[in-house]
Assembly symmetry: C2
């Protein structure tokens, strides 16, 4: 059992009240008493320092980073960049994954006794319904929203321009001469705003290119996983005529899509070009290497940490929306002999 | 600024000492005083509950999971499994990455004021030199070592049998008729014990199969990354005669190796068979799909959490070594038409 206040008091032969005064940073404790208590804390390895500091300052030096799934490379790469950026501000990062669980997201936004360990929270939500953010309001915990949701003016928000990113991907497919362009992502009628925006970019780019929208070419994926991309592509491959290109709402979906095309005996990009969004490391080493829209995660991480650090120090600072840059990266999955 | 003890005291019109007594769980505070303080804490949203509980119980409900790099899929998949397993014991997990920094590892093992927030630590170290573990001894923090290092009898340890895992991989290459089998991993003379063990398994399996060991076929990779696998393979491809198989000490190395073979105009497995260790999701969707030695990360995570939970409750329980199972998974990168 770790040492408790009571153990320390017994060892130091002082009252529990005195120990409590010392660890909570109360000033009016005699030097002799304080020395006795500190010696006992040392001997018993009583873990009070960070806790005592927290009580004194109201701060823990911890930031929470909440992502849906740490095994999705986009999020593990974002976590790496956030950890690096936070270190420059003297913060440590605790990563929490919601596992696509809306209740867990709600709990974290409303604050539970664990989130109270955070000085601030960087939150990459599945959903940002106004009601949820209303709930968060009462917790007063500094919050920065990450990802690609609409800015509601109340919370700092580091996002990408999803509509434009999706348009760039689809415009690239049109430029290389593809005419039957399918899309794989979450159902646009759901309450997730990222896929809504990406779907809007997809249809807008088809319009701009003068291409027909085929409703059967928009396929739902349950998760942004390789498996889901594989399954969605199998559904597309059952259609006639086949699509000649697939725009996937994430790189992982695109990795699964490519494998499904090959397993059907077809070629990427010969028969079907494939493009994703994210630019995860995996895509560069895939065969063919994956064309994508690269999101600047180091920029997102740096800006998010800058905003949360500012907000922790100045809670009344107005909320900012920061739009991270993105750029098209054409690789072999759309342009076969691309270097 | 978050509320401090002093703010709470002012609001409740009591002394700081009284607030400190209440939040530190000191019992002899009058009901009326306690009620006033709790009301002020509520009004000011003073974040004291988890902290106060920590002071009372000496526990935070947090486990630290320390890994070299969260973007390495093996570690993000392990983190996912540890988070799941810890939840069943009522623990939350804080992920910390050392970034291959030996000093950072040393700091964490010796305990700094942030690791004091953990009730226990699951540590996947680069190095487990006895001196480091000696240092940790004085911190008394419950510790479980993860990964593939030698058991030193003092710390719980969930590992795989590295020598056997490497032997299985290389024996498979020999069985499919390969005779010039190269290895890509860290330098065996370094102080890292995982590559030492894997290298031992490699040479042992070559011996068993009656194959010659070519010293130039053992290539060092700086990190277990796709890039490092790619570069190491380019070095192998400059040799004459070429190897006809490559055993990589991790799946990421193998992904990079496959891409380098293709970029040289050669075929996997036709010209060079490739096998890794880990069985990360990425390997199943690679083209060709990657043969590997599958490590049972859910098992590793479950056992590690079981051990740390036991040790937190019973610090004197003897250290256990748990060996996680592994199994060969033959896929297309060694057996071309494998289903």
């Amino acid at each position: 059992m770790p040492a408790t206040l009571r153990d320390v008091a017994e060892r130091a032969a002082v009252s529990v009240r005195t120990v409590s005064n010392v660890v909570s940073g109360y000033e009016h404790v005699s030097k002799r008493m304080r020395a006795k208590v500190l010696a006992a804390i040392e001997e018993l390895d009583y873990r009070a320092n960070p806790v005592a500091r927290t009580l004194r300052t109201g701060r823990t030096g911890l930031l929470g980073l909440v992502v849906p799934e740490i095994t999705v490379p986009y999020f593990s790469e974002l976590a790496r960049d956030v950890i690096d950026a936070a270190a420059e501000y003297g913060y440590r990062v605790m990563i929490d994954q919601t596992g696509h669980d809306h209740d867990r997201e709600r709990q974290l936004l409303m604050g539970d006794d664990r989130t109270m360990l955070f000085d601030g929270m960087l939150f990459s939500p599945l959903v940002t319904k106004a009601e949820l953010l209303d709930m968060h309001g009462s917790t007063k915990m500094p919050l920065v929203l990450l990802g690609e949701h609409e800015f509601d003016g109340r919370y700092d928000h580091v996002a990408i321009d999803n509509v434009a990113a999706a348009m760039d991907a689809v415009a690239h497919l049109a430029e290389i001469g593809r005419e039957r362009i399918a899309a794989i992502g979450s159902q646009p009628q759901e309450e997730y705003s990222t896929p809504l925006q990406r779907f809007a970019g997809y249809t807008k780019a088809l319009d701009t290119a003068g291409l027909v929208t085929h409703p059967e070419f928009a396929i739902t994926a349950e998760h942004y996983s390789r498996e889901a991309g594989y399954e969605a592509t199998r559904a597309l491959l059952a259609l006639s005529p086949l699509p000649d290109a697939i725009f996937c709402f994430s790189d992982l979906l695109a990795i699964g899509a490519m494998r499904a095309v090959f397993d059907a005996g077809l070629d990427v990009p010969g028969d079907i070009a494939v493009i994703g969004i994210d630019d995860v490391d995996e895509g560069r080493f895939a065969r063919p290497s994956l064309s994508t829209v690269s999101l600047d995660t180091p920029f997102i991480a740096r800006e998010a940490v800058r905003r949360i650090a500012t907000r922790i120090d100045e809670p009344e600072t107005p909320a900012e929306e920061v739009i991270a840059p993105h750029r098209l990266v054409a690789r072999e999955s759309t342009v076969a002999n691309h270097p």
